[in-house]
């Protein structure tokens, strides 16, 4: 190598010259844990005696790391880490603010409880086909999506979690699963491709992929730049990922087909990633275009709230009912994004947290109910109270929580959203949220009455109970093992309901980060980054494009 290139080049302008602080490694730690853990578990696929507990170890480590990350972010504000030594906006940046850290922590906690449930539910054959590696890799995709600060990287994480979810969805290879998986896979793939299309146009417009840099450049766009068209594309893509009206049909087609723990993981994590991306990209990065679409978003939210719950009312299969309840919850989060005041966004984030926990718990409870009664048909369920009073109590708590009644976790986000809607003149949206709560109460109340309260299947006379010993065999040891993780989630539901203060404070911080983006931008692009002076660091293509 010639030594002539020793001209004094100041690398610190464009390169990172110092290693990041040790605590900042927490930003990528969840992904490192998931990817190495998933790869390791893949090698232990055939070791069915051990791999479940190894997976629990990895998930517990993931929860610890995410909790540490949230503490770090709460104390120090948004933190970043950039790959490949290139300073932002050139290197791929991971940037975590309160919203991302909260979502990652809740997602990993929910996954840990699902993992505990899966230890009993997932049979040996499904373990050999890789349930636990898929679960961990899915978590890797979810955490990556929550933590990244680069829009193309977000697309990559979407695909990571999508391919892992395919693996989980078809575990068992049954006819309904294959049927559901075809629809799930095709529609989700189209949705992520739509996201990629929008990102390509956005890159053509602003010449950057770094989210903070996008936020800066979107403000400086000339009059007439087609940013609103791009936002419309993003809205369609994220609505499809989040299962909002009218593009939710992949969800009720597929969510009831896999093992109940897989449905629980999906219900808790996947649609919320779509909502998170909507909050991050549309609400935070392009606030002006979002306010242009605010009324449309509000209509979509109201339609999702109402049609979701009406769909739930029309179902006979309790698992499909839960699928529609997931959809109606998405409506509440979109309502927060439509209002987009700090109270509205806080409600949306809090609702996302609540919905992740409650919907997962409800799917797990449905799994136990189906095992207990041997059917998922509302006409044939019955007498479960006599069989398992504790399960009846847990279902009732979760039912009240999902309907938004105090003193459980659903009450506070709904209260916040209704208050935010009334404050900003969206009275009808508040009405839709309340109507949704009313119908949800009927839906879950009906399930509780029919499956727990009455003495047996549909034709059982009033006041009589069928012979409980005639019900399918369900060893008490297994039942206890399945109930334990559900009880853990129920404790969380009660904790959020009774002691809401810390949750309200943290989610308010997350909402504040979405509205006042400057903290995030400063953390990524540096304190000295003059928001106007960024223009002279143009990408090479701007010059080359004009020279054509």
């Amino acid at each position: 190598m010639a030594e002539t290139s020793h001209a004094p080049i100041d690398l610190s302008v464009a390169m990172i010259t110092q290693a990041p602080a040790l605590a900042d490694w927490l930003v990528v730690a969840p992904i490192i844990v998931c990817l190495t853990g998933g790869a390791f578990l893949l090698t232990q696929r055939k070791n069915t005696a051990l791999q479940g507990w190894l997976a629990m170890l990895i998930l517990a480590l993931l929860v610890a790391v995410c909790a540490g990350l949230l503490m770090h972010v709460l104390n120090n504000g948004p933190i970043i880490m950039t790959m490949g030594r290139w300073l932002p906006p050139f290197g791929i940046t991971f940037a975590v603010d309160i919203l991302g850290a909260v979502m990652a922590l809740v997602a990993s906690t929910v996954a840990l409880f699902c993992g505990l449930y899966a230890l009993t539910e997932i049979d040996e054959q499904s373990q050999r086909y890789g349930f636990f590696p898929f679960l961990i890799l899915l978590l890797g995709g979810v955490c990556g999506a929550f933590l990244t600060g680069d829009i193309f990287n977000l697309y990559v994480w979407f695909e990571v979690l999508l391919i892992a979810s395919f693996g989980l969805l078809i575990l068992g290879n049954e006819r309904p699963q294959l049927d559901g998986a075809v629809k799930y896979a095709l529609l989700n793939l189209v949705a992520t491709t739509l996201f990629l299309i929008a990102t390509a146009y956005l890159y053509a417009l602003v010449g950057t992929l770094n989210m903070a840099d996008i936020a800066v450049r979107v403000r400086m766009l000339p009059e007439g730049a087609p940013i609103n068209t791009i936002v419309a594309l993003y809205l369609v893509a994220f609505s499809m990922k989040a299962a909002a009206f009218p593009v939710f049909f992949w969800l009720p087609a597929s969510y009831h087909t896999p093992r109940s723990v897989v449905s629980a993981v999906f219900a808790g994590l996947l649609t919320k990633v779509g909502v998170y991306a909507l909050l991050r990209i549309v609400v935070m990065l392009m606030p002006e275009s979002r306010s242009l679409f605010a009324d449309l978003l509000a209509w979509i939210a109201a339609a999702t709230l109402i049609i979701g719950v009406l769909g739930a009312l029309a179902q006979n299969d309790i698992r499909r009912t839960m699928g529609y309840l997931v959809i109606s919850g998405i409506g509440a989060m979109l309502a927060g994004a439509a209002i987009a005041s700090d109270l509205g966004l806080m409600g949306a984030i809090l609702y996302a947290v609540h919905s992740m926990i409650v919907m997962t718990a409800l799917y797990l409870v449905c799994g136990i109910m189906i095992r207990s009664a041997g059917t998922h048909d509302l006409r044939k369920l019955g007498a479960l109270y006599g069989r398992d009073p504790l399960l009846a109590a847990i279902f009732l708590i979760l039912a009240l929580a999902v309907s938004g009644l105090p003193p459980f976790s659903g009450f506070w986000p709904k209260l916040t959203l209704v208050q935010a809607a009334l404050e900003t003149g969206y009275g009808w949206l508040a009405f839709a949220i309340l109507i949704n709560g009313f119908f949800t109460t009927i839906v879950v109340g009906r399930i509780w009455v029919m499956s727990f309260w009455r003495g047996g299947p549909a034709t059982t006379p009033d006041g009589e109970t069928i012979d409980l010993t005639a019900m399918p065999d369900f060893p008490p040891k297994q039942r206890r093992a399945l109930l334990l993780p559900v009880m853990g989630l129920t404790v969380l539901v009660i904790a959020i309901g009774v002691l809401p203060r810390p949750f309200l404070t943290i989610t308010a911080g997350g909402a504040g980060g979405l509205i006042f983006q400057d903290g995030y931008i400063e953390a990524v692009l540096g304190k000295t980054a003059n928001l106007q002076g960024q223009g002279n660091m143009t990408e090479p293509h701007n010059a080359s494009g004009e020279s054509q």
């Binding site: 193309f152 075809v182 890159y203 087609a253 597929s254």
Partner: protein, 125 residues
């Protein structure tokens, strides 16, 4: 150059959407492949097109004298190609397995997960 590419991408999208509107899974899959390629071309064109100057800075210089090709879209396209290819492989297998199990590739007839005449839920006790 960009105009010609834009027209080509438009044709790709048209064909892809037309195929994806079909009822048959195999045509939808063809549509998905063409859609993926349309997006790849779109990303490539988004980075602006230049004539064959590779993005390599000559030795001894800090920046290139001439305007060079934008390397970023090429990296993005590579990633997108790998992802769409692996997804297509999975979807083909899935569609074939579904065809084996369900005996049809017509999405109108694929009603195992959502039966046609499902009974209404009970309205009373």
């Amino acid at each position: 150059m960009e105009v010609a590419f834009a027209a080509l991408i438009g044709i790709f999208f048209t064909v892809a959407i037309y195929l994806m509107l079909s009822q048959h899974v195999i045509r939808i899959l063809m549509g998905v492949v063409i859609l993926g390629n349309a997006v790849n071309l779109l990303i490539f064109t988004s980075g602006r097109l230049t004539r064959e100057v590779p993005p390599i800075v000559p030795q001894g210089q800090v920046i290139a004298d001439v305007s060079i090709a934008n390397p970023l879209p090429q990296a993005l396209v590579l990633t997108a190609i790998v992802i769409s290819f692996s997804f297509f492989a999975f979807l083909l297998t899935l569609a074939y397995r579904a065809f084996q199990e369900l005996g049809t590739d017509d999405t109108g007839d694929m009603r195992v997960a959502e039966p046609v005449n499902e009974p209404a839920p009970p309205t009373g006790y």
